[in-house]
Subunit: 322 residues, 2 copies
C-alpha cells in the first residue's frame, strides 16, 4: 500500500467536519478560516517510541495520548481547540496498527470537535508529532506570567497516578493488578482539561498544564511571574489508589512524577466569588494546594509545617545526559 | 544541559520578531494574531535521519532544508509565510550540532521573515518535524484542483539536479567532483519559491510543489482537477550540469527524481498576458513543459512525438514495503 493509499484509507475518513476548514487533507497545505476577533493558539508535542511509550504499547492509546497532550497545552492557555496536524513516522505501513492508532486518535478528536486538517507520513523509527490549533478571544489567553502574591494555587483532578502506573510497568514499584487497572488509564489515556481551561479565563491569573510534574511546572509559573509559592504537601489531591499506596510510593510521585496532564492555576482573592460560581461546571475536582508568595522559589511544607524537599524535581529529557 | 537550557540557549535568540506574535516561545502554546481578511495556510513535513538524509549530514543543511520543504508547501498554495513550530527529536543534547542546525534554520527563517513561535525537544532517533503557517487573502489559495483543458503547464527553476546529487552520494551514478559541487546545494539546500508562489495567485489555475518528482506531483494535480496532461520531455528545464550527463542520467531523474522543490502550475490562455507581465518578477526561470488535456492520465512524448514511459513514477516512502 502506498503512502497516498494509506493516507486516503485511514486519515481522510474522520467524523469531524468543521465549517472553518476551507481546504483540509489532500492539498499542499490546509486553508483555515480563523474567526474574527479571536487569536490563534498553537502548540506541538510528540511521543517517541522507547522514550514516551514502550514498544508494543496499544496503538489506540498512542493515538489518543498524542492528541491529548497537545489539547492539554491548549487548555492551559484557555483556548478552544479547533484543528490539528499529524506528523507520523513509522517503520512500515502496518494497516492493523494504523487502524487502532486512528481509532484512538479520532475518538478524542471527535470528543473535542477538533479536525485533522493535514499531516505527513514518513518511514523511520516510530514518532508521533501533533500540532494543535485553537482560539481565544483577543487578549484573553492565560499565561504562565500573571501569578501575584496572595493568589491561591489550584490543581484539577488528582496527581501522581500516571507516575504510579509507569513505576508498575517498569517494575520499580509493582501494584496489585486491580490497583494497576485503576491508574493505568491515567498514564495511557490522560484527560485534557479542555473545558476547564476555557472556564479559567474568567478568574485565573496564570495557568500551566502539569506534564513534567507539579514542582517543575509550577516552577515555570513562578519564574515567569517573578514570585514564589508555598505548597502544603498534604493538600495534594490523591486518588484512593494512590492514597492506599502512599506509605510505599511517598509524595514525590504526586509532586514530581509527570504525565498528569492536569491544570495548575492561580486565582486572585478578588476572583474567589466568580471562581466559586463556575466551579460546579468543572468536570473534575479542583483543589487548593497552596499560595503564591513574594519571596523566590517553591517551598513545600508537610501537615506539621515542616519543610519538605522532594528528591525528584520533575521530568527532563536531557537532565541525565548532561 | 537541561532541555529548558537548550531551548533558551539556541532557540530563544532568533533574528525575526514579528508584531503578530503575541506570545512566542516559552509558554504552553504560542498566541498569534492572524491578519483580518486573510485565511490561514498550514502545513507540516519532517526529515528523518537515515531516510531523508544520511547520518553525518551537515546540521546546518538539515536545519535549512527542514524549513525549506515546508515553505515550499506554503508557496504552492500562494501563501505568505509567517510562523513556524519545530518538533525536534535528537539522541543527545549536542551543543555543537544544535548550534549549526540553528544557524541553518534561522538563516532561511530570516530570509523569509518567518518566526519560530514554539516547539518541543525530545530524546530519540533524529527526526526534525516543522509546521509552517502563512496567509492568503480570503478565497485566493492556489489549489491542486483547478487545471482545465487548454491550460499551459509550467515549472519553475530546473529539475533533476537534486536526484543527480543523491545518486552521486549513494554511489549509483558518480559525478566528477566539480559537477557534484554544482548540484549538491539543490539537494542539501533547496530554494523554496516563496515569492513566485505568491505571484501565481494572479494567473495560475492550479499549483503544486514538486517534492516527489514532476510525474507524481503533476499526477496529483491531474487527479484533483479531473483532467489529463501532455508533457514534452525535451522541454524539461535542465541545468547545464544535468544536460552534460543526460546520456548517462536519462530523463527520469528530471521527470521523477524528487527533492526538486520547484513549483508546477497551470495557466489558462486568458491569463497569458497577465502572466507575461509578472514573469520578470520571478527570481528563477519559468518553463512551459506541456498542456492540460481533457483525456485522463499523463502522457509524455519525446521531441519526435513518440510516447515515452518513465521507468520511475516518483518517490513513495512505502511503495517498496507494500
Amino acid at each position: 500500500m502506498s503512502e497516498f493509499d494509506l493516507i486516503r484509507k485511514f486519515f481522510a475518513a474522520q467524523a469531524v467536519a468543521r465549517d472553518d476548514v476551507i481546504v483540509g487533507i489532500g492539498d499542499d497545505a490546509a486553508v483555515l478560516a480563523p474567526p474574527a476577533g479571536q487569536q490563534l493558539v498553537v502548540t506541538t508535542d510528540n511521543l517517541v517510541e522507547g522514550v514516551h511509550f514502550a514498544p508494543g504499547t496499544d496503538p489506540a492509546a498512542i493515538g489518543q495520548k498524542a492528541l491529548a497532550v497537545n489539547l492539554s497545552d491548549l487548555a492551559a492557555m484557555g483556548a478552544e481547540p479547533a484543528w490539528f496536524l499529524l506528523n507520523l513516522t513509522l517503520p512500515q505501513p502496518d494497516a492493523a496498527w494504523l487502524e487502532k492508532f486512528c481509532a484512538g486518535l479520532f475518538a478524542i478528536a471527535s470528543a473535542h470537535r477538533v479536525q485533522l486538517v493535514g499531516g505527513n507520513i514518513a518511514r523511520g523509527p516510530l514518532n508521533v508529532a501533533i500540532e494543535a490549533h485553537g482560539f481565544v478571544p483577543e487578549g484573553e489567553a492565560l499565561r504562565r506570567a500573571g501569578a501575584r502574591p496572595g493568589d491561591s494555587i489550584y490543581v484539577t483532578g488528582e496527581l501522581g497516578d500516571a507516575a504510579l502506573a509507569l513505576r508498575h510497568r517498569l517494575g520499580t514499584q509493582p501494584l496489585p493488578e486491580s490497583d494497576f487497572a485503576a491508574v493505568r488509564e491515567r498514564l495511557d489515556r490522560p484527560t485534557p482539561r479542555v473545558r476547564e481551561g476555557q472556564l479559567l479565563r474568567r478568574f485565573a491569573s496564570s495557568a500551566i498544564d502539569i506534564s513534567d510534574g507539579l514542582v517543575a511546572d509550577l516552577g515555570h509559573v513562578l519564574e515567569a511571574s517573578g514570585v514564589g509559592a508555598l505548597l502544603v504537601r498534604e493538600r495534594l489531591p490523591l486518588s484512593p489508589t494512590y492514597r492506599a499506596h502512599l506509605a510505599a510510593a511517598g509524595w514525590d510521585r504526586a509532586l514530581a512524577g509527570g504525565d498528569d496532564y492536569e491544570l495548575c492555576f492561580t486565582v486572585p482573592a478578588r476572583h474567589d466569588a466568580e471562581f466559586a460560581r463556575w466551579q460546579p461546571k468543572f468536570g473534575c475536582r479542583v483543589t487548593c494546594v497552596g499560595e503564591i508568595v513574594s519571596g523566590p522559589g517553591l517551598q513545600i511544607v508537610d501537615a506539621a509545617g515542616n519543610r519538605y524537599e522532594p528528591q525528584q524535581r520533575g521530568h527532563d529529557h536531557f537532565a541525565a545526559a548532561s
